[in-house]
Amino acid sequence: MTLLRQPTILQDPVSFDHEGKAGYPSRSIGTILADLADDDPRIMAGSADLTWSTFLADFAERHPDRFVQAGIAERNMLGIAAGLASCGALPYVSTFSAFASLQSLDVIRNDAAYTNLPVRIIGTHTGVSMGYFGSSHHAIEDIGALRSIPNLTVLSPADHTATEALVRATVDASGPVYLRLGRGASGPDVYESQGEVVFGEAATVRRGSGVLVVATGITVHAARDAADALRAAHIAEPTVVDVHTIRPFPAEQIAALAAAHEVVVVVEDHMVDGGLGTSVITALSEHGVAVPVHRHGLRDFAIFGPPTHLYRYYGLDAAGIAVVVERAAQHPSAGPRVPLWGEADMRRELEAQQEADRVRKPEVVFE
């Protein structure tokens, strides 16, 4: 296996890069929207005091008359967006996912979804990507909360190309849209062209056999890298599919893909209950596909730690996913499904990291 497991004391350098240097998904949403707004006077944008953190700054600078600074009032921002949309505007409002979805849930439901207005909600820094900011800043239930709301489209692009393709594809969608974005430090792009990302269809990122890995958002990069490593090591040749359109869920397509494999592994930076895995199981059940499904994701509020360390701890980095996929390939039809990434795995990762921290701790002395 070519994947390195190298515990480090520091987070990856771009985890909390608020200046947008890396140019990955959420980093450039403001530029995508500002470009669209050049030709479309309906497009507006709004922020709740996180204009730079959520990478909307380019829009604010290029279209100040169509930018709404709501202050630290997310629910009010969503309500304002609904009012704007009712007058013919296409408002894209952004904040961290935890606040854009869970804190504002009944505003989304009542003022955007019930009214079926074209409000666009951009939740950045989703999953556990806020790391040691803690569970208040994690969005590990947003898919579960939002996928049950009528009229709402839920999108989860894996990279910049997918983000732009999906934003463009939904500009004229009649109802509300929620975009679930990462922190913008997910690795090299998955897609080379926007044509590879078609709204409403899952995209096959790696074609293989045996194990079908279903991923979304920032887990697509890790799943892709895990598949490449497993293939190079002649351990497995999994198929990797990116479900960037979570709602409407491409049920028929996923069921057909699953039917052509021996086992399915769903990887998500979200609670395993109510998220992508639940949608996959439902799709297979409704289409009569009896292939076993392993759900791999969060099962509790996360512990504290730098983002990259959390992904490693929860087995959501490439190395962890590779372990999970290898285990699934070895026991494709094991009886009652136990988590393929368990307490022992997490304990091992924690001890390795604590040892690295002990050896490499900075010279800080508290008195």
Partner: protein, 285 residues
């Protein structure tokens, strides 16, 4: 007495229009077997005044982009709004016979997708002022002078999002926005003073950057005056206006006036007959 809901053929005075609206509110409740009498009758005169004197709307083109907009944030008072919209000709009053019945457009909280003239859906309290702020922002962007009205309940002011929106509107000097608080002093569990006392209301709104008017919400001349001063401030580019309208819950039906117990209830039989007679007498008939 026959019980029917009919269009006005001639309604020369606002008192008569208001009496007709109150009558419709009572009859809608008769259809449902339940009615939000208190909060619907308290804002009836305000709604009549708004749709008679201020709002520039076209019942033949209810979605016209240039129109003034009204958000009934206290959506539970929609039986009065339906009556006023029917009176203005947005739809035939006879449609209100379906009020609350299976498959109707007219539920006990308003749905903008179903009822012509309803500018925004409502029901969950605390949402409407934010929506109205968005509408007022868009009107400012369009620069067509459209006004936005939000009608709030005084109990609804307990909702924190109201103050997020109030702070935003004040800071952004949204002069085209008027919030009208129907200060009927009761909510469900008792009087607003008993449940959660938010007075002095005027000081709070003023602190958030609003021009404050406090009026008798059943005095048409007073309502006109406050709306006129709002319109002038809008022209002058001033601050947003809040009209604290002191009202009486259940206004027009003396046996239930001012009673939290009649926030929702049912007046049937002889009680309804008496209420209809009393309401008719207030219209100058």
């Amino acid at each position: 007495m026959t019980m029917s809901i009919e269009s006005a053929t001639a309604a020369p005075t606002r008192e008569e229009l208001a009496a007709q609206v109150r009558r419709t509110v009572l009859l809608e409740a008769e259809i449902a077997g339940s009615g939000h009498y208190g909060p619907s009758l308290s804002c009836t005169d305000l709604l009549v005044a708004l749709y008679t004197d201020l709002l520039r709307v076209d019942p033949a083109d209810p979605d016209a982009a240039w129109r003034d907009r009204l958000v009934l944030s206290k959506g539970h008072a929609c039986s009065a709004l339906y009556a006023v919209l029917a009176q203005r000709g947005f739809f035939a009053a006879d449609l209100l016979r379906t009020y609350t019945r299976l498959g109707t457009a007219f539920g006990d909280h308003p749905d903008m997708k179903k009822v012509p003239g309803v500018d925004f859906s409502a029901g969950a309290l605390g949402h409407g002022l934010s929506v109205a702020v968005g509408m007022a922002l868009h009107a400012r962007l369009r620069a067509d002078g459209a006004r936005t009205v939000a009608i709030l309940g005084d109990g609804e002011l307990n909702e924190g999002q109201i103050w997020e929106a109030a702070g935003f509107a004040g800071a952004n000097r949204l002069s085209g926005l008027v919030a009208i608080v129907d200060v009927n002093t009761v909510c469900v569990d008792g009087t607003t003073r008993e449940v959660l006392d938010y007075e002095p209301l005027g000081d709070k709104w003023a602190a958030f950057g609003w021009e404050v008017e406090r009026i008798d919400g059943h005095d048409f001349d007073a309502i006109d005056g406050a709306l006129g001063r709002f319109a002038q401030r809008h022209s002058d580019g001033g601050r947003p206006t809040v009209i604290l309208a002191d009202t009486v819950a259940g206004k027009g039906v003396p046996p239930i006036e001012g009673m939290a117990e009649w926030h929702i209830g049912y007046l049937g039989g002889a009680d309804l007959d008496a209420a209809l007679l009393t309401v008719a007498s207030t219209g100058g008939n």
